[in-house]
Each structure stands twice: as structure tokens, then as C-alpha cells.
Amino acid sequence: MAENIFLEVVTPSKAVVSEEAQIVVAPGSEGEFGVLKGHTTFLTSLKLGSLRYKDSSGQERVVFVSGGFAEVLPNKVTVLAESAERRKDIDVDRAKRAKDRAEKRLSSGSADIDFVRAEAALRRAIHRLSIKGVA
């Protein structure tokens, strides 16, 4: 059994994950990548998606990340995300509301809305729901 790597997921408001993991799989902007202990130092941006890892007991965990950056060191992975939530902390109602809101805004077709933002909000909401297995 390989040794564990330390995983840290931090957002501006709190540290979401800070524990040992057997393996970490993250949604890099150039493609998903997996990290085991002893990985070479590596820096990448992340896209919206789910970060998956196996904790020290072998339990599979999923964390939603809104995109950000990941720094990989031989014994540590640090993920900097603007927002991140563990699967169990995802608020389904809130995500549903956000989805409705974003859809409405996009379909309203008025010129003064920020399409990029609305679309990003929609994608976040959809992904949150899909992690929960709702959508």
C-alpha cells in the first residue's frame, strides 16, 4: 500500500478539506489528473468539476470545486478554489434555485444581463446537482 498524500482544499471563507488521502483525482483545465504520493511538483488551473479522493480509510469522497488552482507537491496537494463543498454539504434547494434563476436570466434574452456570469452560475448549479445525483 502506497503512503498517503495530504490534501488541502481552501476557499476564501474556510478550509473545506484538510486530510490524508490515498489518491486524489482533480479536474485540471487540460484534463483530469490523478495524484499519488511522490508526484512531481506541478501547478495547474482547475475547471469547474468534482474533485475525487479516497480518504485514509479507503472511502471515496467527492468535493465540488468551482474552478481555481491546484498545486501539487510530492507529499501535498493544495487546491485553491473560489468555492468548494463536500458532497454532503451541497445545498440542493439552493442549487435548484440558482439553476432556475440562471435559466430565467438566460432565456429572458434582454441585453443588459451578463451572459458569462449567468452561464457560469448555471453550470455551477447543474454540477452541484449532478454530484448529489439529483439532476
Binding site: 481552501v10 476557499t11 476564501p12 471563507s13 474556510k14 478550509a15 485540471g28 483545465s29 487540460e30 512531481t40 511538483t41 506541478f42 501547478l43 495547474t44 488551473s45 488552482f69 498545486e71 493544495t78 485553491l80 473560489e82 468555492s83 456570469r117
Partner: protein, 300 residues
């Protein structure tokens, strides 16, 4: 001269004021704690980000991002002014506004200045001067807010900078030094001051040891692209940090102001009580004199 009754009314009104100020102090104290906690919670993110940014900043050139390039001619300047929404916090807002005002008058004379206001007090001032207001965000400072406020407002400024609607952006906020000390600070946001400086600033003692092997990072996508993505984020981080600091400072300043006010009320009550007692005694004395005088007169 105030009558006994007037003094009494005055005492009770000062007492009520004191109750209010001491209650406000308690509220400010608990809010201060909350604000300090969110400041603490933000630290790991900010310091890690700065560390990574500093390490790749050393490798990339100025062409990595248009945000790094100073405009040839600076005509339009935008100032982000962070103040509180509410008063009763001593000289807090006045200090911030004065700092901004002086800076605009001394350093930005002859340039077209527009403001982005966080907080009602700063906005009210800008309206009175009057000064152009690009955006205003009320109900942020001093309350609960998250990172999206900073990224929304930051993105707007970045867009304006890229479009050429604005040539320089400055940030005025209150740096929270300690419970008792808050200091107005001015920071240049855009164009981003040189990368070397950033790399130096961020190479704090702890980051220093990592920087050595960080230099060998494989970057994906290339370090220039990464840097281009990180720089706007860094602006958001600075704005968010400024908002957190200003909020914490506001509560700190209010706590101090209310503590002083409570103390002043206490002193005033003491003084008024002395006056009240003197007045009462002199009343009794004169009454006694009357009685004694009357009794003497009766004796004949």
C-alpha cells in the same frame, strides 16, 4: 438656573444614553469577533495564493497579462473607497475619506476621477462633493458578505481597465492593525505593480523555503497563461481582503467610540449627581432657615 426637577430629568436621559452606548459597544464587540474570524479564515487562502503567484511571477514576463502594462497616458483614474454604512464609530469614516480626498487632490490632480464606493458614508461624501460614482455597494462592509462581491466588482474594474475606460485603479481601505488601531491605506490595484516586487513581497520567510523548488514547477497550461488567470483573481483577493479589513476596523472603531461614550456618560452622571445633591441640600437648608426663623418669630 436649573431646578431640581430639571437636573433629575437630565440625569435619567444621560443614563438612557449610556444604556444605548454600552449596548452598542457589546454588539460591536461580538461583531468584531465574527469579522476577525472571517479574516482568519481567509488567511490560508490568501497566503497560499500569494505564495504560488509569487513563485510563478518570477518566471513570467510583462507580456503575460495586459493588466501589467501601464497606460502611456493616465487620464482616467478609478478609486475604490471602502467605508462603513453606519456612523457612530468615531473618526473612522472621516479618516478614510480624508485620506482619499487628499490623495485625489495631491496625486490625481487634473485627472478624471471616478469612485466605486463600498459603504454608505463614502458614497454620501462622493455625492456631496460631487464626484462621479461608477458603482456603489451598500450593506457589504460591516455585514456578512462572501467572495463573490469582490469578484463581481473586481471584474467590472478589470473590464473597464481593458476597455480603456479607466487607466489606473486605486484602493482605499482601513487596515486593521489592532483593536485600538485602524489605519487608512492606499494601494494601487491596476495596472498591477511590477511582478518582481510581488515575488519579493510574497516571499515571506515561510514561503522562501518553498520558492526554491517551486521554481521547478511544471505548469499546465504554461506559466504565462496561468499567471494571466491568477492576476485577476489576485485583484479580487485584494478587494476581498480590503473589505474584510475595513469591516473589522469598523467594528473595532465603533467599539472604542462606544466605550468612550459610555465613559463620558458615566462622568456626566457623576457631575450631574453632585449638582443635584448640592441643589437638594441648599433647598433643605433654606427650608430649615425658614422654619427656624418662623419659630424665633413666634417666640417673640
Amino acid at each position: 438656573m436649573a431646578t431640581l426637577k430639571e437636573v433629575k430629568t437630565k440625569i435619567s436621559s444621560v443614563k438612557k444614553t449610556k444604556q444605548i452606548t454600552s449596548a452598542m459597544k457589546m454588539v460591536a464587540t461580538s461583531r468584531l469577533r465574527g469579522a476577525q474570524e472571517s479574516m482568519e479564515a481567509f488567511k490560508p487562502y490568501a497566503s497560499k495564493f500569494a505564495e504560488v503567484l509569487g513563485s510563478i511571477a518570477g518566471k513570467a514576463g510583462e507580456e503575460a497579462s495586459p493588466l501589467l502594462v501601464p497606460k502611456e497616458e493616465v487620464k482616467k483614474v478609478s478609486v475604490i473607497l471602502c467605508t462603513s454604512d453606519r456612523g457612530l464609530c468615531g473618526g473612522f469614516n472621516v479618516n478614510l475619506i480624508e485620506k482619499a480626498d487628499k490623495f485625489i487632490k495631491n496625486n490625481l490632480a487634473g485627472k478624471e476621477v471616478s469612485l466605486t464606493c463600498f459603504g454608505k458614508k463614502g458614497r454620501d461624501w462622493a455625492k456631496k462633493v460631487p464626484m462621479a460614482i461608477d458603482d456603489q455597494y451598500i450593506g457589504v462592509v460591516g455585514g456578512k458578505f462572501d467572495f463573490s462581491v469582490a469578484s463581481t466588482s473586481g471584474q467590472k474594474l478589470i473590464n473597464r481597465f481593458l476597455e480603456g475606460a479607466v487607466d489606473e485603479v486605486y484602493l482605499v481601505y482601513s487596515h486593521f492593525k489592532s483593536m485600538a488601531r485602524q489605519e487608512p491605506v492606499i494601494k494601487q490595484l491596476l495596472p498591477i505593480p511590477s511582478l518582481d516586487e510581488m515575488a519579493k513581497n510574497d516571499a515571506a520567510p515561510e514561503a522562501g523555503k518553498d520558492a526554491a523548488y517551486l521554481a521547478e514547477h511544471i505548469c499546465e497550461p504554461s506559466s504565462d497563461v496561468l499567471l494571466g488567470e491568477m492576476l485577476p483573481k489576485n485583484i479580487f483577493i485584494q478587494i476581498y481582503d480590503a473589505l474584510l479589513q475595513t469591516s473589522t476596523s469598523e467594528h473595532g472603531a465603533r467599539m472604542k467610540a462606544m466605550e468612550n461614550a459610555t465613559k463620558a456618560c458615566q462622568d456626566m452622571i457623576g457631575e450631574l449627581k453632585t449638582i443635584f445633591n448640592k441643589r437638594r441640600q441648599s433647598g433643605i437648608t433654606s427650608d430649615l432657615m425658614d422654619i427656624v426663623g418662623g419659630a424665633e418669630a413666634l417666640k417673640g
